[in-house]
């Protein structure tokens, strides 16, 4: 399985991660070789095998619907790169 630079650019766009030209080149080669290696899985017949997503039996977890205090807003905003009037601030979206 060989990836193209175009595919790598598409995946980087989906991941919202800009890549340098050098990174695109390198990842195209490295991801191709890793996917090639993963190709060995296709030699296994997995028809009718149930996929294992989680090791513990999956069940919903309920709790009583009681109000609790959340963490103080000012404290949480201390880690924000930019905040104003108790809100996160980001560049213009519209």
């Amino acid at each position: 399985m060989a990836l193209t630079i175009k595919e790598v650019e598409h995946v980087a766009m989906l991941a919202r991660m800009n890549l340098s030209e050098d990174e695109k080149q390198r990842f195209t080669e490295q991801l191709s070789s890793i996917l090639n290696y993963a190709g060995v899985l296709n030699t296994l017949d997995t028809d009718g095998v149930e996929p294992l997503t989680h090791i513990l039996p999956a069940f919903n977890v309920f709790r009583t619907d009681t109000a609790r205090n959340s963490m103080p807003r000012e404290e949480i905003l201390k880690n924000a790169p930019l905040a104003e009037e108790g809100q996160y601030k980001v560049p213009k979206i519209m």
Binding site: M17, E23, F27, L31, L41, L52, L56, I76, A80, P81
Partner: protein, 484 residues
Amino acid sequence: MEIYELSVHELQERLTRREISAEEIVRSFLGRINKVEDKVKSFITITEESALQRAREADRKGQYLGIAGIPLGLKDIFCTRGVKTTCGSKMLADFIPEYDSTAWRKLDEQQGILTGKLNMDEFAMGSSTENSAFFVTHNPWDLNRVPGGSSGGSAAAVAAGEVAFALGTDTGGSIRQPASFCGVVGMKPTYGRVSRWGVIAFASSLDQVGIFSQDVRDSALIMNIIAGHDPLDSTSAAIEVPDYASYLDGSVKGMRIAYPKEYFGVGVDDAVKAAINKALHKYEELGAIVEEVSLPHSEYALPTYYLVAPAEASANMARFDGVRYGHRDFEALNVVDMFSQSRAQGFGDEVKRRIMLGTYALTSGYYDAYYLKALKVRRLIANDFDKVFLDYDVIISPTTPSTAFKLGEQIGDPLTLYMNDILTVPVNMAGLPGISIPCGLHNGLPIGMQIIGKAFDEGTMLKAAHAFEQNTAYHTLKPELGVK
């Protein structure tokens, strides 16, 4: 013998008998850090002041709780309120959490003393700690070699006597592999046994919190504190936690031990095989029944892991967008550029590679071929273990194919580096508990033996590990480090 050389249970005994104070213990370890840290470089942050203050408080109260006065280190992936938590990444270089991870909170409640936060591969992705965004950590047995990873700082700090024990995390071997390289005990409990609340996520169906210690008894004691259900982690198991220390009776008479032939194959060094075979003979001598078994899907575990883990990682890493915390590019003019540039600048090479791989494997059109296929193979791998555990109590193998490699030796070729995890990854795929204990030296470097237990039966695994330790002296070997 210096105070910093004592195990957790020895320190506890001396403190309870009032032979030493918590402050004396902490000062001894801080002194040791002072002497060796510039060689080993385990710590990203050292919390000297608060450690001393907490020790004095414990002495003043005069009534010591569980691990009062015991200096510990945390992999820098555990959120610690008011103490910088970087996850080894530039992305979180200035991140100061507002809350404590559950595992650390439980240690804190038992008066354990945090002496600092330990180096790691960025976001726990790596096998050598060379992927830390800050600096490399050196193996205390040979400073030119890696300590393993991703919890390399935790392993090195325990091996160098800088902390009495440490916590790490294990997604594909990140506790057991560095423990093996650094000649200490490294234990990964069953998936779901210890809360992951407040632990920065890598691959959520695989991540588990675990322990680095000098001996098996210490791991059992710390497990008694950190194990158990946590309402804040919906994947933590609501299953009763036994007293792990009660399993440590030194006997393996009649215990059924399996060794999988696939774990002694090509790529595993002869010296490593020889050490494990010697250990298996020791178990026979001690009255255990030791037999060869097959885990036929072993060779598929690593490729499966390198699809499943990056897929989950790519989803977990989506939270780092420069909005709520972490690095932001302030030059970007619109919000999509801000995401894309912040992530480009904040993440290192390996993290980017895995985000790319995982995003690709989850892309429509490739989802069935890669991700779904991998999950099906994961089931086959887990079934192999289930079958063996119908007839056996524990499984024993080497922890890693080789001893610690040289710094810089495996950088640049991701696949070669990934091979380090070939014997540890299957255990995570099946969610089982595993422990690495020292079982020999080759050319002055430690060899680790992996003991794998049944799900939620860490007790039997610890019992087997402890019995070996009681009848050998490998765990007492210490690196010299050229200082007194």
